[in-house]
């Protein structure tokens, strides 16, 4: 997929709105995550506005592509993108984390139509992804399954159990996208790409996926052209035997001067002042900050 200049600008505009919505939603609810959602904004926008075969008006369409947010703590980012894409009204974001809400702290597929899996306990999302991809093959369906993972999350053994079975069953219709920002919640001391040590220093995840004979594509996870090129390539090989791992290099807390690369913003509640500052830094007009 080649983007026109206008399309690229449109996606970048949406990404800015999403960043604002993430901060505003968490500030309003008084709880939630910031760094992980901000890191995945371009990936989520590219998926929901370009790559995924979905219909927001018919979220249970059986031939839709499946998407699983394995790093479930980034739920608020997914909700912001889904709201802008028309799955539910923007104002509903203000119910985030409130009792009775469809927008739970971690994605809950029993509450919100459009979510293809629940998540929150890390390391589990790729396995149901294998299930969807396997099932699609058995049902003769051509939908694709995408799973978004965090790099801290890759420390869970279950991820590698899924990586193994996906290749064993030759699931070219499965794509894992790694939001590789090199930070997790606490992690190891020492300066890395962020303000802590990169947990995969000396053990690049690209090499680990390659060792399981996955096809690996490395991209800048904030560059829409690269993201969409990779997603297109992944889908092209869907009939082949090798699942695809898109290793997206990202910055945790991306997009704002005060959150970028700071592990302390993993789950910190922004103040009203922080939200004002974000609006200013993002250069959003009053119509673009509806909440």
């Amino acid at each position: 997929m080649i983007l026109s200049e206008a399309e690229r600008q449109e996606l970048e505009r949406i990404a800015k709105k999403v960043r604002y919505l993430i901060l505003r939603t968490v500030q309003h609810s008084g709880a939630g995550h910031i760094g992980g959602p901000l890191s995945a904004v371009e990936l989520l926008v590219a998926l929901y506005f370009k790559a995924l075969r979905i219909d927001p008006k018919n979220p249970t369409w059986e031939d839709r592509d499946r998407f699983i947010l394995s790093k479930g703590h980034a739920a608020v980012g997914l909700y912001a993108v889904m709201a802008l894409r028309g799955f539910f009204p923007l104002e509903e974001l203000l119910t985030f984390d409130k009792g009775g809400s469809r927008l739970q702290g971690h994605p809950d597929m029993t509450r919100l139509p459009g979510l293809d899996m629940s998540s929150g306990s890390l390391g589990q999302g790729l396995s149901p992804g294998v299930g969807y991809a396997l099932g699609a093959r058995r049902l003769g369906k051509d939908f694709h399954t995408f799973v978004l993972l965090g790099d801290g999350e890759l420390q869970e053994g279950m991820v590698w159990e899924a990586v193994h079975t996906a290749r064993r069953y030759e699931l070219g219709n499965l794509t894992a996208i790694l939001d590789y920002n090199g930070l997790q919640q606490y992690g190891w001391r020492g300066a890395g790409r962020g303000d802590r040590k990169d947990p995969w220093e000396g053990l690049p995840p690209a090499r680990l996926f390659a060792a399981f004979d996955w096809r690996v594509i490395e991209i800048d996870g904030h560059d829409f052209d690269e993201i969409l090129a990779a997603l297109t390539l992944a889908r092209k090989e869907a009939r082949g035997p090798r699942p695809t791992a898109i290793v997206a290099y990202t910055l945790k807390g991306k997009g704002l001067s005060f959150t970028g690369g700071k592990h302390a913003w993993h789950s910190k509640v922004p103040s009203e002042e922080d939200v004002r500052r974000a609006i200013e830094e993002l250069g959003l007009s009053p119509e673009e900050v509806p909440l």
């Binding site: 709880a31 739970q104 702290g105 971690h106 306990s121 890390l122 801290g152 420390q155 606490y186």
Partner: protein, 310 residues
């Protein structure tokens, strides 16, 4: 009343224990800044092992270290021990009697808005059924600290059920923890309220509300879910015609189940179990959750009034 979060006590007491036990190590599952085990890392950087987001492995590593004479204290959320790492906890720790101490932070409903994935309200049912496991649920900061000292001196696996947010300090500073004891927090006449963990403090408050309605409720706290002195429980509850249990746990298999089992065998009488019914939790503010699941002092008092007065 002064309020202190048990996780703060956890971090501070780990540092105290680190001074006293040179063979004590802390293993963390990428949550030390939530559980406050980061205080230990600051004090003893060489004895703090970051194990990453890999709880099954962390539990297994702890078993190996324990069988070499180290005392590993583990730091993660409750749910990732009792659910994610249940098998290693069972086979490698409980079945080998490994001297591992599980600092199970963020138990119950009040997990900082994270919702049903993180709200562990089945943990007591799981760990209580594991032979060799000692299961402790402190009432307040004083008891949490006392239990940690006791647990570190005790040889064998201990599960310590901790909470995230500040809760009232009820016990006196010179309180001494003895496993198995059932504490009488307030004498009563008409009925008994039995709690575990920080819920017991809410029961004291509920008893005050009931007093205003002319009902004198005795308040009891079972800090040790296992071992529990059954005879003491039966004797303390003997004067009461009716018993209410309350806990941030499922009504299945937790304190309510335990009290009903013991009384059923030795002194049968009605036991009303207040807790999470057969539903999953959700993300919401603390007050909302406690009200919604009937655990706030006001809701406990209402439930008692309804059961007693009809």
């Amino acid at each position: 009343m002064r309020e202190v979060a048990l996780r703060e006590v956890f971090g501070e007491t780990l540092v105290e224990l680190g001074e006293a036990y040179p063979n004590l190590l802390v293993l963390d599952g990428d949550l030390a800044n939530s559980t406050k085990a980061d205080k230990f890392e600051a004090a003893f950087p060489d004895r703090f092992l970051e194990m990453g987001i890999a709880e099954q492995n962390m539990v297994g590593v702890a078993a190996g270290l324990a069988h070499l004479g180290f005392i590993p204290w583990l730091s993660s959320f409750t749910v990732f021990f009792t659910h994610r790492a249940a098998d290693p906890l069972r086979m490698l720790v409980a079945q080998t009697k490994a001297n591992v101490k599980i600092g199970a932070a963020y138990s119950g409903l009040l997990t900082g808005y994270t919702g049903k994935t993180h709200q562990d309200v089945e943990d007591l049912a799981i760990v209580r059924a594991m032979p060799e496991m000692v299961v402790l649920a402190p009432l307040d900061a004083v008891e949490a600290r006392a239990m940690m000292h006791w647990a570190t001196a005790h040889e064998g696996p201990v599960y310590l059920r901790l909470t995230r947010d500040p809760s009232p300090v009820v016990l006196p500073e010179d309180y001494r923890f003895e496993p198995g004891r059932v504490l009488e927090l307030k004498p009563g006449r008409d009925l008994a309220l039995v709690g575990t963990g920080v819920q017991s403090a809410r029961l004291l408050e509920a008893a005050r509300l009931l007093s205003a309605e002319g009902i004198e409720a005795g308040v009891y706290h079972a800090g040790a879910i296992k071992p529990l002195d059954e005879e003491e429980l039966v004797n303390k509850l003997r004067p009461y015609p009716k018993v209410f249990t309350a806990e941030e746990h499922s009504i299945y298999g937790g304190l309510g189940g335990l009290v009903a089992e013991v009384l059923g065998a030795h002194d049968p009488k009605p036991v009303v179990r207040i807790g999470i019914p057969d539903v999953w939790g959700e993300s919401a503010p603390n007050d909302w959750l406690l009200d919604h699941y009937g655990l706030s002092p006001r809701r406990v008092a209402e439930r008692v009034l309804k059961e007693v007065k009809g």
